[in-house]
């Protein structure tokens, strides 16, 4: 052991800086989860603050907030995962059938572009469409249906659709590239043999492409399920402009924790919600991984 440490001291030295960074960013905060069981205040610090038992959790689950944000988080994620999968796969299969090389590359380039924009920029784009007076939709599209001057930022019922559309716009293109990479990996001989047997294009897609893509779809979906309790904070915080009027349909665990921590300074509630998210998240990742492992040993994360 000691001899090995001396022998490999240079390699160990290489590992040192990154190990320290991980220790600061990931490991120390892990031990901080017990804050949820403390009645924390800034003066006494984490160690000095008195224990609170389960009080923070009692307060959290006594309000309707906990259930609302949980339901919102899970519902948005389920819809995003399912529709994202279907759209990405459909687009990947379709792009694969575009035989003009140049056009195919052009479509792919353009499709990926939204993903490179930050959520702040995306919030401006949504705003440009929905601005209560000047927005393109409000000014030019809604009047065609007989509506005038709608302030979407006051109507919570519209936001599941708006957020869904925004999310798909931002992520479907890049998602389809991953599936496209998998399709390109499928052996040509399979298609050649199918053609020999007189299979139509449609039959080739149904009988070859989709079945061979299934493992990739299953694994990516399972991995996404591990994140069922986390959400894209930027999407829910910036795109909605953090509008209080929209909370009933736009508040998710991440925005709730952030608000508790920064805006309301309610550390007890924030850390309880935080703990709840971390623990459930952990079991979801473990569960998702063991499911992946059961289906196919090679594709499990660990």
């Amino acid at each position: 052991m000691l001899r090995n440490i001396v022998k490999y001291r240079v390699l160990l030295l290489m590992l040192l800086p990154t190990s320290i960074v991980f220790f600061i960013n990931c490991y120390i905060p892990m031990f901080g989860v017990f804050i949820a069981f403390k009645n924390i205040n800034y003066i006494d610090g984490i160690m000095g603050s008195p224990w609170a038992g389960l009080d923070n959790f009692r307060f959290l689950f006594a309000t309707s907030d906990a259930w609302r944000v949980t339901i919102n988080t899970v519902a948005y994620n389920v819809v995003f995962i399912v529709t994202g999968l279907l759209l990405s796969v459909a687009i990947a299969i379709a792009v694969n059938e575009v035989r003009a090389k140049l056009a195919s590359r052009l479509y792919q380039t353009v499709m990926i572009m939204p993903n490179f924009l930050s959520m702040v920029v995306v919030s401006y784009i949504v705003y440009a469409f929905l601005h209560p007076e000047y927005g393109f939709l409000v000014k030019y599209v809604l009047p065609l249906f007989g509506h005038s001057s709608v302030n979407a930022y006051m109507h919570p019922e519209a936001w599941p659709y708006i957020l869904w559309l925004t999310k798909m716009w931002h992520s479907v293109g890049i998602g389809s590239v991953i599936y496209l990479a998998a399709i390109t990996g499928i052996s040509e001989e399979l298609y050649e043999a199918a053609v020999m047997d007189g299979a139509s294009k449609w039959q080739q897609i149904i009988r070859i492409t989709i079945p061979l893509l299934t493992p990739v779809m299953v694994i990516l979906t399972i991995l996404n399920l591990g994140g069922l309790f986390r959400s894209d904070f930027g999407l829910f915080y910036h795109v909605t402009l953090d509008s209080g009027a929209l909370r009933s349909t736009t508040d998710v665990i991440d925005t709730y924790v952030y608000r508790g921590l920064i805006q309301l300074n309610d550390l007890g509630m924030a850390s309880a919600a935080n703990f709840y998210q971390s623990v459930v998240g952990f079991f979801l990742v473990i569960g998702a991984n063991s499911l992946a492992r059961k289906l196919n040993r090679d594709t499990a994360l660990f």
Binding site: Y8, V10, L11, M14, L15, P17, T18, S19, V21, F22, I24, N25, C26, Y27, P29, F31, G32, V33, I35, A36, Y42, A94, R99, K101, A103, L106, V110, M111, I112, M113, F116, L117, S118, V120, V121, S123, Y124, I125, A128, F129, H131, E133, Y134, G135, V177, I178, A181, Y191, K201, G234, H238, L241, D242, V257, Y258, I262, A270, S271, N274, T299
Partner: protein, 304 residues
């Protein structure tokens, strides 16, 4: 068989299908790009016409005054641009170096502590303390509020990229190369910097570009840690501007003051001009991205 495009007969789709496919993708491509162009169009619009006719895809009159205003009067913006550029540059360099430094030893087959450091990495992907302890550590214990370190340090730990780099090393760096380096009397550092890194350029570029994008687009760390206006990043200034505009409107609506403010400064077009300026550098690195990143993603998809 069509010689020119080298497409095998069975691969062809019928003419009708081809037309349908192209139509779908042209519409889809437009849907991806038009919203961005709307922002550009607004930024080049005349402020008065904007308030009369709303946001349009085609400005009635091309007007560059928003940009003039942006560059002439806005020291806040220039400062923010500087902050974003430096944080992105330093952060990316450090991140790529740290990732390579960690990925290399855990790739080495002869390294006896490989497993321990693998697990050390894996655990960070499984469990996280979450926002509250992270925030308290940075602010109360490390005293990093209003520092550039708070903008760079969080982005330096990324287990996923380390696994990608390690997988790449496993696939491209032959064991013999390291052995022969040793026989020639090269030190471990020399082997790493002069033999391993040059071959690994594709994966370093992929990770570097992803990291660049991550730092450039980051607003979360500014939101959490920065109160000092001297240290606002570009994304953070944009967050503030969209919120303040709403606040302004609600407060001053109908008081006549709003109109006055609007006349002196082209607020609507100015804000969109700022967004356009913030997208600029991304479009600049985009071609490099395009070249590397399909490869990067494919490598990442292989079990890490």
């Amino acid at each position: 068989m069509n010689k020119a495009t080298n497409v095998k007969p069975y691969q062809k789709v019928s003419k009708l299908a081809a037309i349908v496919l192209h139509t779908i993708f042209i519409v889809f491509s437009l849907a991806c790009i038009l919203p961005i162009l709307l922002i550009v169009a607004i930024s080049f619009s005349n402020e008065k016409l904007l308030t009369l006719k709303g946001y349009k895809f085609w400005p009635d009159e091309i007007d560059g005054s928003a940009y003039h205003h942006l560059f002439a009067n806005s020291s806040t913006l220039m400062k923010a641009y500087g902050v974003s550029l430096s944080v992105t540059f330093i952060g990316t360099l450090l991140a790529v170096l740290l990732i390579a430094l960690y990925a290399y030893p855990i790739f080495r087959k002869d390294f006896p502590f490989k497993k321990i450091f693998n697990i050390y990495l894996l655990i960070t992907m499984l469990f996280s303390g979450g926002l509250v302890p992270f925030y308290l550590l940075y602010v109360n214990y490390l005293d990093l509020k209003d520092t550039y370190v708070a903008l760079i340090l969080p982005g330096l730990s990324n287990a996923f990229y380390i696994f990608i780099a390690r997988t790449f090393f496993q696939q491209t760096i032959p064991e013999e190369m390291i052995e022969s380096g040793k026989l020639d009397g090269a030190s471990e550092w020399r082997i790493f910097f002069q033999l391993v890194l040059p071959i690994s350029l594709p994966v370093l570029a992929t990770i570097g570009l992803f990291t660049t994008l991550m730092y450039w687009n980051d607003w979360f760390n500014s939101l959490l840690f920065i109160n000092d206006s001297e240290k606002f990043s570009l994304q953070y200034v944009m967050i503030q501007m969209i919120r303040q505009a709403e606040f302004f409107k609600n407060q001053l609506a109908g008081s006549g003051v709003a109109l006055l403010v609007q006349q002196s400064v082209p607020t609507e077009s100015l804000r969109m001009a700022m967004v356009v300026v913030s997208i600029g550098p991304i479009l600049f690195v985009y071609p490099f991205f395009q070249k590397y990143f399909t490869k990067g993603l494919t490598i990442g998809a292989i079990k890490g």
